[in-house]
């Protein structure tokens, strides 16, 4: 259990990075509390796996340092960092039983058999593995194997952090749900710091207390699920989190106010004084049909069961909005109203007024 601090951390896979694009991970300062549940979320190639490997020690950063409880571990190899990791594809020791798999990290560290037995039984119970303890690990299903991988981390008492690298990739969709709940439940029972890497917004948000959203090697926002949803600091966050993602509409700015086709749009923030491309961001959840407002034409309705996703063309671009099951949907021309507390102006992608601050 430890607090994790990343100081001016940067990494490049090439020896002499010059341009901005040469960095797989751009400069980063973060503080993670002991016992927290964190997620690194972003599309493939955003640098989240690089960051994870830096923390676990499989990579050494080109610049900056990593501290566990104020101890500098930047130069330490993985085995000395006291971390546990669950990989994308389940790693189990095929020839061993489930019991021996769970006992393996303890036995390697010379723990006495009585303690081993106690810990293994405890962890097996937490992971629903008690019934299979005597079975060969190779015979288990993918989700069982992932539970073993996780169990090998939980069984140790000296673990600073447990890292998850897209652990649900090979899990059956209808079991993903169960395992996700299981992870969440486990985190409430064990006080370990957990870091979860994924490209799946649902996994990240359901698991983590705080989500670090990354895009092209850069952290664009760190926040609670609620913050990411309600106040995205970057249009990328708005797009990436939420299904469908946030609407981003072209607009003009005059005196700090936003206008679409000459019509003023009420927003929660003021446009920044900085020059740049201005856009309006509003989530589909905060758009509704109304008697007046932005003119639009309904072009597509998709029935998703408990709600419909409606697509409408406006002067600012395509707008998606959600209509509850049974709600009225105009067939052609309509007016759209944006919730002013959830509508924001963005400059060059960043929330106006907080440019460049994740």
């Amino acid at each position: 259990m430890a607090r994790i601090t990343l100081k001016n951390l940067k990494h490049a896979y090439m020896p002499n990075p010059v341009n901005d694009e040469d960095w797989a991970l751009k400069e980063l300062n973060l503080d993670w509390d002991d016992g927290g549940a964190y997620a690194l979320l972003g599309p493939s190639g955003c640098g989240k796996t690089t960051l994870l490997n830096l923390i676990s020690g499989l990579l050494t950063p080109s610049h900056g340092s990593i501290l566990f409880d104020d101890h500098d571990v930047t130069g330490l190899p993985p085995e000395q960092r006291k971390i546990a990791q669950v990989f994308q594809f389940p790693v189990v020791y095929d020839t061993m039983t489930v019991y021996d798999n769970l006992a393996f990290p303890l036995r390697n560290r010379g723990v006495d058999e009585t303690t081993v037995n106690k810990r293994v039984l405890e962890v097996a119970e937490m992971n629903d593995l008690t019934a299979t303890l005597g079975n060969r690990a190779s015979g288990l299903t993918a989700d069982g194997k992932q539970k073993i991988s996780l169990g090998r981390g939980l069984v140790r008492t000296d673990v600073n952090a447990i890292l998850f690298d897209e652990p649900l990739t090979v899990i059956d969709p209808h079991l993903k749900f169960q395992l996700r709940s299981k992870l969440k439940e486990l985190h409430t029972r064990v006080p370990n710091t957990m870091i979860y890497v994924t490209h799946d917004q649902t996994e990240a948000i359901t698991f983590a207390d705080k989500v670090v959203v990354m895009n092209v090697g850069e952290v664009v926002q760190v926040g609670t699920p609620k913050e990411l949803f309600e106040e995205p600091h970057h249009t990328f966050v708005g797009h990436f989190i939420g299904s469908p993602g946030m609407n981003v509409l072209g607009c003009e700015v005059k005196n700090g106010q936003a206008y679409i086709a000459g019509k003023r749009i009420q927003t929660a923030n003021k446009a920044s004084a900085k020059a740049g491309k201005s856009e309006i961001g509003v989530r589909p959840e905060f758009v509704k049909f109304a008697g007046r407002g932005l003119e639009a034409r309904v072009v597509k309705v998709s029935d998703a069961g408990r709600f419909s996703v409606v697509e409408a063309d406006s002067a600012g671009g395509r707008v998606r909005l959600l209509v509850e099951e049974g709600g009225a949907i105009p067939s052609d021309s309509a007016h759209l109203e944006f919730d002013p507390t959830a509508t924001r102006i963005y400059t060059d992608g960043w929330l106006a007024g907080r440019e460049g601050q994740p």
């Binding site: 599309p43 493939s44 190639g45 059956d172 969709p173 209808h174 749900f177 996700r180 709940s181 969440k184 439940e185 409430t188 490209h199 799946d200 917004q201 649902t202 948000i205 359901t206 699920p225 609620k226 990411l228 949803f229 797009h239 990436f240 989190i241 939420g242 299904s243 469908p244 993602g245 989530r283 959840e285 998709s302 029935d303 998703a304 069961g305 408990r306 996703v309």
Partner: protein, 359 residues
């Protein structure tokens, strides 16, 4: 050019993989096979393609019995969950390969591959090798190859399952458009109810080797024929509870009761209520209170999914907004029972409208 399965079964040893199944898919239709893994979707598709021979029954296509016809002789395309491409061919050659097999003139191949690449948005990658593409681009290449020839039957077996979340959203949006102008039979297997709903078309809900429900997708969702179909079509899982109806009242083991709808006969039922009709806030005047111990609260940002136990029965609530709950705490949930399904002892849906009229 309809595809018909006539009393088809599949057994492997003593295991029954597909129970007797009749299905008819019309030309130009978009059909979804919805069910969990091992529900029999892939087996059924392989029999449609001719990759597997049914143990009994017949497969007809365009009025001909094709049960014994090898897959090479049928005009079939298939897309798999894994991105299957020829690794040492360029994207262009990958897409062109079925046309070359069909010995089309080079100019036509060029034109059709170009058109298909445009549609799949991979025009810029035609000279690259599959290994140089992202997962999504690889799957688009595999799809382009399947769609470039004019197949009579296109089978897609969970084609989006291995893609990134956002990409899945995008492709789901584009897919129906790709098939809109074709006069072929499209069959699409998926495990995800939301995906099925957004794709539309007609759905065959599958459970343990049986087709448990069949009809237009949204209609099956709103009026499942029975318990199994309702279970298949709910994510998170539908809440089920044993109910007894007596002198005009419905009573659950959970200690919850409400006034029965007109015409609901006395007896025992299983009620099914979807998670979004169980909420931490009161939605309608007909809502009843279900009290339970919170197991896990999952917050997706826009929605909260709360798992709780009421009388040791697992329940799930799905609601808008952020509703944080502490694990282990007792909490009240409001279930809108006007939205619940009643299933009889055999698991069939009770038609309340018909029962009401009769009464």
């Amino acid at each position: 050019m309809a595809l018909e399965l006539k009393n088809v079964t599949k057994k492997v040893g003593a295991d029954v993989h597909i129970h007797p199944t009749d299905l008819t898919f019309e030309p130009g239709s978009f059909n979804i096979l919805l069910g969990t893994t091992l529900a029999g979707k892939t087996t059924l598709m392989q029999m449609m393609a001719g990759l597997e021979k049914p143990t009994s029954g017949e497969v007809w296509f365009d009025g001909h019995n094709v049960t014994g016809t090898a897959v090479q002789k049928r005009n079939v395309s298939m897309v798999y969950q894994q991105f299957i491409n020829y690794p040492n061919m360029s994207v262009f050659d990958n897409i062109a390969s079925p046309l070359r097999v069909a010995r089309l003139p080079a100019a036509e191949i060029q034109a059709r591959v170009g058109e298909m690449a445009e549609l799949m948005r991979i025009s810029a990658m035609l000279d690259r090798r599959p290994s140089e593409l992202s997962g999504g681009q690889q799957q688009r290449t595999a799809m382009a190859r399947a769609l470039v020839k004019d197949s009579d039957l296109i089978l897609l077996d969970e084609p989006l399952a291995n893609l990134d979340f956002k990409l899945r959203e995008e492709m789901r949006d584009e897919l129906p458009r790709l098939f809109a102008e074709r006069n072929c039979v499209v069959v699409y297997a998926t495990t995800e109810p939301t995906e099925a709903l957004l794709l539309g078309g007609q759905t065959a809900a599958m459970h343990e080797g049986r087709v448990v429900d069949l009809g237009p997708t949204a209609e099956i969702y709103r009026n499942p024929s029975g318990l199994e179909s309702a279970k298949v079509f709910s994510e998170p899982p539908i809440n089920l509870a044993k109910a007894s109806v007596k002198s005009g009242w419905v009573l659950l083991d959970e200690g919850v009761s409400w006034k029965a709808d007109k015409g609901l006969a006395n007896g025992t039922y299983t009620i099914g209520i979807r998670p979004h009709h169980v909420s931490p806030v009161r939605q309608s005047s007909k809502s009843v209170v279900v009290e339970g111990k919170v197991k896990v609260a999952e917050l997706t940002g826009s929605e909260s999914i709360i798992h709780f136990h009421a009388h040791d029965h697992p329940w799930v609530s799905l609601s808008h907004g952020v509703h944080p709950f502490e694990t282990g705490r007792f909490a009240r949930f409001y279930a809108d029972m006007s939205k619940c399904f009643y299933f009889d002892a055999d698991g069939h849906l009770v038609d309340l409208a018909a029962a009401g009229k009769a009464a």
